[in-house]
């Protein structure tokens, strides 16, 4: 597997390999020299067609800690604003010798197109495409949960909020199911996608019901920029029924953790007290993002070929 496009492409072995590798790489952050020589001479392009702070910085830090050269490309201020197509942008990157392209795009499936078009030879890593997937976010979430909860087999994870527009929720549901966790998505009916009953998870409209048995609760951002229709009557009503405040947090088990992929709307889906609570691991998620992305870049680019998807290949050749 040369690319990382979807959490669904990861077998259980692949996912555990990434998480275990990230665990070892997390130590690099505590060393006097936070750098490994592994990807020296390789070029990683961050191709961001959508705004992002933490994901882009996280990929940049990860690539730099592995000694790769990083080229940052954002659509704003580039030829894209002059009307350049994805194809021409890709051909430009290929001409510059990109070994990996980390792409974020507003259109679902753009990374898939880039990976399978033949425009570029390097690996493609999906850093969030439209409302489709965000696999490295799911990996860093699983990494964070694993640190606090141990192995995720049988653990109960509740994902709350705008599931309809959330690539984070999609990738998390897929990855957590692969890792054997029991996932429940909770949202108002208008914010659950059609076909959620075919997902490998349970769903509910009632947050208070779902909280008591949860080992981790992940609050999703209300994506105002994608809300072009009235999905709920008012922010206040959403907050009252689906927001996590201190009172609601009391329903959680004592060792349960609170997560949020960021950026947060404090006071909407999560109250400030909960966001800053000792049981909130939101800042840690950002730290872990660098380790997980280092692991992904290393496993995709570090060797003569990718270390991911090896088990499937072996099975296929039997």
């Amino acid at each position: 597997m040369k690319h990382l496009l979807s959490a669904a492409d990861l077998s259980r072995d692949d996912a555990l390999l990434i998480l275990d590798t990230a665990q070892q790489l997390a130590q690099v952050a505590d060393r006097p020299i936070k750098k490994l020589p592994t990807l020296r001479g390789r070029t990683v392009v961050n191709l961001f067609f959508e705004d992002s702070t933490r994901t882009r910085i996280s990929f940049e830090a990860a690539a730099k800690r592995l000694s790769a050269d990083v080229i940052n490309f954002s659509a704003k201020g580039s030829s894209v604003s002059k009307g350049e197509t994805l194809k021409d942008t890709a051909l430009t990157l290929q001409a510059m010798g990109a070994d990996a392209v980390v792409i974020r795009h507003g259109a679902s499936g753009a990374p898939h197109t880039l990976a399978h078009s033949g425009w570029i030879e390097g690996s493609v890593v999906n850093a969030g495409d439209g409302t489709h997937e965000h696999p490295t976010q799911a990996l860093l979430d699983a990494f964070t949960m694993r640190r606090h909860l141990g192995e995720l087999e049988g653990r109960r994870i509740t994902i709350v909020g705008d599931v309809l527009h959330s690539r984070v929720a999609r990738s998390n549901v897929l990855l957590l199911a692969t890792l054997g966790a029991q996932v429940t998505v909770v949202a108002p009916p208008t914010l659950l996608p059609v076909g959620v009953d075919t997902w490998p998870c349970a769903f509910s409209y009632d947050l208070d019901d779902a909280l008591p048995g949860s080992d981790a609760v992940m609050m999703l951002r209300v994506q105002r920029e994608r809300m072009n229709a009235a999905f709920f009557p008012s922010a206040r009503e959403y907050s009252r029924r689906y927001g996590l405040d201190l009172q609601r947090m009391d329903r959680l088990a004592d060792d349960a953790i609170v997560m949020h992929p960021g950026p947060m709307n404090r006071g909407l889906e999560i109250s400030a007290e909960v966001a800053d609570h000792t049981r909130s691991v939101i800042v840690e998620q950002v730290t872990n993002g660098v380790s997980v992305r280092m692991a992904v870049l290393y496993l995709l680019l570090g060797g003569s070929e990718s270390a991911l998807g090896v088990a499937e290949l072996a099975e296929a050749s039997v």
Binding site: I33, L36, T38, G302, G303, V310
Partner: protein
């Protein structure tokens, strides 16, 4: 790494369990002798088999000196020069003793010294973790065929080999028994340069 998979006659035992014990005891004493005691000495095993060897050496040194010897492990995967020749692989654990390596005499411990490339990688890895006062190298078996100007300070057994042979070290902690065997490499069983 299976050792039982070889046919009789193609495998020669070089060190049996008692020989391994004796070699380690001698190396432990040599380390203490060279460094005039255990003060400032840190043992770092190179995964996989260097790690249990480092712990065994530390036990023996502690028994002689009566003080705890700091032991750790040092994964060199990310520093290898052959990374791009093989598919990427998972990492082993790096764990430094709490004392760190700054100003210490670090003794790297590995099972087999072959091309010297692992040791070169280890020296690079060590340089990113701190600045030891000195670095020494202890190996259970030196099989020759160096490709870099590197030598061991403490050797359990010097073993002349041909490049068509492979040295397999078994340790109780990982393999259930101690021993070193020399075997012919067959085409399906690639030798792993150490």
């Amino acid at each position: 790494m299976p050792t039982a998979a070889f046919d009789e006659g193609r495998v020669r035992t070089v060190l049996d369990a008692d020989d391994v014990q004796r070699a380690l005891t001698r190396i432990a004493h040599e380390i203490l002798e060279r460094n005039k005691g255990a003060t400032g000495v840190v043992l770092l095993g190179i995964p996989t088999r260097g790690v249990p060897l480092a712990h065994r050496l530390a036990e023996r040194m502690a028994a002689v000196e009566g003080t705890e010897i700091p032991v750790g492990s040092l994964d060199v995967t990310m520093y290898r020069d052959d990374l791009r020749l093989k598919p990427a692989r998972g990492l082993e654990h790096t764990e430094l003793p709490e004392t760190g390596v700054d100003g210490a005499v670090v003794v790297l411990v590995d099972d087999v010294l072959f091309s010297g490339r692992t040791v070169r990688a280890a020296l690079d890895a060590l340089g990113d973790l701190g600045r030891p006062r000195a670095v020494q190298l202890a190996v259970l078996v030196d099989r020759g065929h160096r490709e870099l100007p590197i030598r061991a300070d403490f050797v359990g057994k010097n073993l002349p080999t041909s490049t068509s042979e492979t040295v397999r070290v078994a340790l109780t902690e990982l393999d259930g028994h101690d021993g070193v065997v020399l075997a012919e490499v067959d085409s399906t069983d690639e030798a792993e340069p150490a």
